[in-house]
């Protein structure tokens, strides 16, 4: 269980994290979602005792990270895969980490095996591709067989194969009953991975809920109606207080559910070819909630149809 209470971090006048409180429940995958620059990495660094909060605190199982004895046995983390000395071999990188927390040397070979780096363990980490570096970072996180795992944007920049690998890995960790806290700016990715969502924007908490609830709450539920003659129905819907807009040959109705629309159609004797509820996409939900809190707006993000969700990069 990770608990943040009133977590605040300011750099001079800039508030990177603003009075942030949330909890990450034990034994589930919790997504940490927010646009770029929302303060996700800073929050994670504060949880890990790397940065000192300006105010508030972050506790792991009731303890500050700095008070943990041999912390790698409790918490594993991958914040940045490039935090490795380029001239040190992958094995040597894990060896010193293992030694620092009195983990058995054979554990190094075990985690290398788990992430599939055994063949290149003796190679310079500086020559690794991003995918390999990411695997090495995950190996380091798993070294102490911790119950709590933190990952910062683990799929960023990976190829589809790498993304799939990470995704499967997260599920496996969750199945093993571990607590996983994973940040991303890609909501679609989170939907596939996370059961819980902590959403932030501009350093502030926007919501904490299950992924389902988040989507349900945030998306505008609409109904798509198609048919050869919709003129009467359209008028009736308007009179009944629903809002209607055209989409192609059909209508998109909001503020009324399928049953009511169906009865209205029967009363106006309208032939329907389709009557289907539209679930809002995750991206729409995300945009709706964080729309005001993106630090750097782009033309694309401001456009009415958010086909491309977030500017690339971290």
């Amino acid at each position: 269980m990770i608990e943040a209470v009133g977590l605040t971090k300011s750099y001079g006048k800039t508030l990177a994290v603003d009075n942030l409180s949330f909890s990450v429940p034990t034994g589930r995958v919790t997504g940490f979602l927010g646009p770029n620059g929302a303060g996700k990495s800073t929050t994670m660094r504060m949880i890990l005792g790397l940065d000192t909060p300006t105010g508030g605190s972050a506790l792991i199982d009731g303890k500050r990270y700095r008070d943990l004895h041999q912390p790698l046995r409790t918490v594993g983390a991958l914040l940045d895969a490039k935090w490795v000395h380029p001239n040190r071999s992958a094995r040597a990188h894990l060896q010193w980490l293992a030694r620092s927390n009195k983990l058995p040397a054979k554990r190094v070979d075990e985690v290398l095996e788990i992430v599939g780096l055994t063949a290149v363990a003796g190679k310079r980490a500086g020559g690794f591709s991003l995918g390999m570096s990411q695997r090495l970072g995950i190996a380091a996180a798993l070294l102490g067989d911790p119950q709590v795992l933190l990952f910062d944007e683990p799929v960023n920049g990976l190829d589809p194969e790498g993304i799939l690998w990470i995704r499967k890995f997260m599920h496996r960790l969750a199945e093993e009953g571990r607590t996983v806290f994973v940040s991303s700016h890609l909501l679609s990715e989170m939907a596939l991975t996370a059961q819980e969502l902590v959403v932030i924007g501009r350093g502030k908490l926007i919501s904490q809920s299950s992924t389902e609830d988040f989507v349900a709450q945030a998306t505008e539920n609409t109904v798509l109606v198609r048919g050869p003659q919709l003129g009467h129905l359209r008028t009736a819907l308007g009179q009944a207080g629903a809002s209607v807009r055209d989409e192609g040959a059909g209508l998109v109705v909001s503020g009324m559910d399928c049953a009511d629309i169906g009865e209205l159609a029967a009363r106006t004797q309208t032939v329907l070819h389709e009557l289907s509820p539209q679930r809002g996409s995750l991206e729409e939900a995300f945009m709706q909630l964080t729309g005001d809190s993106v630090e750097y707006h782009t033309e694309i993000a401001d456009a009415p149809t958010p086909a491309t969700l977030v500017p690339a990069g971290k």
Partner: protein, 241 residues
């Protein structure tokens, strides 16, 4: 603490810079000893001649020690380090200790290696290590290297950048300490308390004007290193990693 020492030992020796530095330091000191021994004429070779390259080795060791910590910041492995062991004071003390031990070993090998080299060229009675001053001049090199490496780690922790730390660590003993004595009036008095000058007096004799004896000089040098180390620990604990 033994765990941390072992951790830092692994970290130090699994990168290339300590190996290069050790190689360079030994090559320079022993090489200069040979050069001086072979070109010498007029009077017998003395123990002092054999330690001609001491300062070269010192600078190389200072650079090595600074890199031991600045590369951690450069490659952000300092974050992995503090993540693995959040007790920053213990980590940095362990690192300093490991670096200092390596510096001491390099110093002793360099000093005795240089001495053996010149002795092999012309081993007269003046080359015998007999007095306390002779012993300090040779065996003392390791101590001075070790303490200097502590200063380097402390400065490296404070500055965090290789370029800045190395500039300071080279410019200070090579330039500032020497030039300061040229200031009219007060220069000599300031010079007498400059740490590397004082360390040099421990090795090469104190002379009539020195404010301290040889061992007090070494203690003063160690005191400067300790103060810097404590300052760096305080800063590293306060600062975001």
């Amino acid at each position: 603490m033994t765990t941390l020492l072992a951790t830092e030992r692994i970290k130090l020796f699994t990168t290339r810079s300590p190996w290069w530095s050790a190689f360079l330091a030994l090559g320079l000191t022993i090489g200069f000893a040979a050069l001086v021994g072979l070109n010498h004429n007029g009077g017998p070779l003395t123990v002092e001649h054999s330690q001609f390259g001491m300062q070269f080795g010192l600078m190389v060791v200072s650079v090595m020690a600074a890199l031991a910590i600045t590369t951690e910041y450069r490659f952000a492995t300092i974050r992995a380090t503090f993540q693995a062991v959040p007790k920053r004071t213990s980590v940095l003390v362990a690192k300093t200790a490991v670096v200092a031990v390596l510096a001491a070993v390099i110093g002793e090998v360099a000093a005795f290696g240089s001495w053996v080299t010149t002795y092999a060229i012309d081993g007269g009675p003046e080359m015998a290590i007999t007095t306390g001053a002779d012993w300090r001049m040779v065996a003392g090199v390791g101590l001075v290297y070790a303490i200097a490496s502590v200063i380097s780690v402390a400065v490296g922790t404070l500055v965090r950048q290789s370029a800045g730390a190395i500039s300071i660590l080279l410019i200070w003993p090579l330039l500032v300490e020497n030039l300061v004595q040229l200031i009219p009036g007060i220069g000599d008095d300031i010079h007498d308390w400059m740490p590397f000058t004082v360390a040099g007096r421990f090795l090469n004799g104190t002379g009539p004007d020195a404010p301290m004896g040889p061992w007090a000089s070494l203690a003063y040098f160690a005191g400067v290193a300790a103060v810097l180390l404590v300052a760096s620990l305080v800063v590293a604990n306060k600062r975001d990693a």
